[in-house]
């Protein structure tokens, strides 16, 4: 496989970001994940098994859809949607999960733990564990278990144990803390199936590698469809896995502009935001040096986004590096802008996007206005919005407060 990027360095650094700020007790396990993944990448049998699953189980390659009607709301630019929403379980998350579940089995471990915010990564993990016969425990902030009760039921239906986390802010960051605490106590037989391109080395690299296929497919599909590379690639950024998924294959293409759209919440200048690159500062969080929403003493600040999947007070270290070097540009998109793009895509294209992905669509509208009708914009439509129908219905007043039509 030619998935190797020049970064990270051998200690997991992306420029001044990344690294491994983890308890000593976990270093042996992190080393094991790193060395097993290096071996698995070179193992034709492992790669064949993963490729079969991605094709026959996930449904890859995912389609590239031209959004001809939505284009009219994007300054007339050509907008091409990479349809990760059409994957099994409804988002890009399945790519990473299948790879790490196979890696778990390869390491001889029988139990998987994972964190989830909105529930997408938890559902994908529970799915892969059901398929491969692995025990599965999902940590989810208590507040999120209430906001996403349907996904809790889905995970339990798939055989996973869902543990509501009742400490701290009771959201995604606390679920990650709790998963690390479980891992350190059970690491001899447990793999922590990390869901995004954050955390201590090698997770940012491992998760990027397993999602590389998204950008690789999209690059070939755009060349085939348009006859040239896109002018810009747009993705939403929380932890940043779907953005790295679509960026990675384009990083060497210097003429392709890369845009990450962060969850601005009620505005990146307010305290109700999750835009960690725009509004945060360099710090160490969940095992890596990156941009963090923090106070003057280094205490993590609560994040806010209408999208539970982007509601995270930090970002993967490679994004921090891409922002640092200017290779990618990160801009905040507010809840209101994202919901307007959500509505427009539903009405113009008959596609209900995840609210996460709607941030990328809002970004594409902004880019289209800037670049004009000659431009080609590739958007990672990272997930479908079925899970968000309750939130959207409440937002747009489609149902009365009791949820009745």
């Amino acid at each position: 496989m030619s998935h190797d990027q020049p970064l990270p360095d051998p200690h997991g650094h992306y420029g001044r970001f990344g690294g491994r700020f983890a308890p000593e007790a976990l270093i042996a396990a992190l080393d094991e994940v790193e060395s097993e993944w290096d071996k698995a990448k070179q193992d034709p049998q492992f790669q064949a098994e993963l490729a079969d699953l991605l094709r026959d189980y996930t449904g890859r390659p995912s389609a590239l859809s031209e959004a001809r009607n939505f284009s009219g709301h994007c300054g007339g630019a050509r907008v091409l949607l990479k349809r990760e929403d059409l994957n099994h379980t409804g988002s890009h998350k399945i790519n990473n999960v299948l790879g790490q579940a196979l890696l778990t089995r390869r390491m001889g471990k029988t139990r998987v733990i994972a964190e989830t915010g909105a529930g997408q990564h938890g559902v994908a993990t529970a799915t892969a564990c059901a398929l491969l016969g692995l025990d599965c425990v999902i940590y989810m902030g208590e507040e999120d278990t209430q906001r996403q009760a349907l996904n809790v039921a889905r995970m339990r239906m798939l055989g996973a144990e869902v543990v509501p986390v009742t400490i701290g802010s009771r959201t995604l960051k606390d679920a990650i803390n709790e998963a690390f605490r479980d891992w350190v106590a059970n690491v001899d037989h447990t793999h922590y199936l990390f869901g995004t391109v954050a955390g201590p080395h090698p997770f940012p690299k491992l998760v990027r590698d397993l999602h590389f296929v998204v950008g690789e497919e999209a690059r070939a599909q755009v060349l085939d469809r348009v006859g040239r590379l896109p002018d810009a690639v747009a993705a939403c950024v929380g932890g940043g896995s779907n953005a790295m998924a679509i960026f990675a294959a384009f990083i060497p293409d210097e003429d392709v502009a890369l845009y990450g759209f962060e969850a601005g919440g009620e505005g990146a200048q307010t305290t109700r935001t999750a835009a960690s690159i725009t509004a945060g500062s360099p710090g160490v969080f969940h095992g890596a040096r990156t941009f963090v929403l923090q106070d003057e003493y280094g205490q993590t600040l609560p994040s806010h986004s209408i999208s539970a999947g982007l509601d995270y007070p930090a970002v993967g270290p490679e994004h921090a590096h891409l922002a640092d070097t200017g290779r990618a540009t990160y801009e905040p998109v507010t809840d209101a802008e994202a919901m307007e793009a959500f509505r427009l895509l539903c009405r113009t294209e008959g596609i209900i996007p995840a609210i996460e992905s709607a941030h990328a669509l809002a970004g594409a509208r902004r880019l289209g206005e800037r670049l004009g009708p000659e431009a080609v914009i590739l958007v990672n439509l990272s997930g479908r919005g079925d899970k968000d129908v309750d939130t959207a219905a409440a937002y747009f007043g489609l149902v009365d407060p009791e949820g009745q039509a």
Binding site: G19, P23, V284, G298
Partner: protein, 273 residues
Amino acid sequence: MTTATALQNTLTAAREAGRAALIGYLPAGFPDVESSIRVIEAMVEGGCDVIEVGLPYSDPMMDGPTIQRAADRALAAGTTTDDVFRVVEATAATGAAAVVMSYWNPIERYGVERFAAALAKAGGAGVITPDLIPEESEEWTAASRASGLDRVFLVAPSSTDRRLALTTQACSGFVYAASLMGVTGTRAQVSDTAAVLVRRTREVTRDSGLPVCVGLGISTGAQAAEVASYADGVIVGAGFCQRVLDAPDLETGLVAVRSFAQELAEGVRSGRA
């Protein structure tokens, strides 16, 4: 030739007395800044030789529920990094050696050199860094050397021999041996992994004589005695926090803390009998 820190002197004195040192942990600002100073004074009166002053952090990944609750209380009371230095100063005034236990981000945010200088000025002897490994510690090593502070890194039952050597070489004062694979909090028994880890660690510290202190899961006098039979120091945290959390008022808590410290102090003195 650098002069010995208060931590090094205290551990040497305990070794010369033929016993392990008793090291007690409390987050600064728990339950509030002034009260935490009083709890620490009670810990020292009861027999703690060294106090680990915790810097309360919003995301304590290595801590179990008891210390999480204590740290949350401290943060809710508005405790800041500067308050931690105040508590260190008060701790040093008791005659016990004061070290800070902190996750890395608050130190980095304060400014690594600035933090080291402020801690040294407050009379602190060093810092225990549970989520900083030697590979990431270049800046901290320089700053702590410049300020004459000890650097305490952790080793764990999962550490390879190569990492035991690497980590103990980077330490000064002592090396913190995590008794088990897990987070802080009380356990019914001392894990078998503790003695094995101490033995393995001593194999790589034979030349340096670096003290090996054991923490995680120790919460009774009998457990302290057991660990004191093979370690240079016994570290207790959650047991102190729990007594403060359980007490109806501060005065009752102070009595319980003092008596708990006495029980542990008797333990570390009977371990090698």
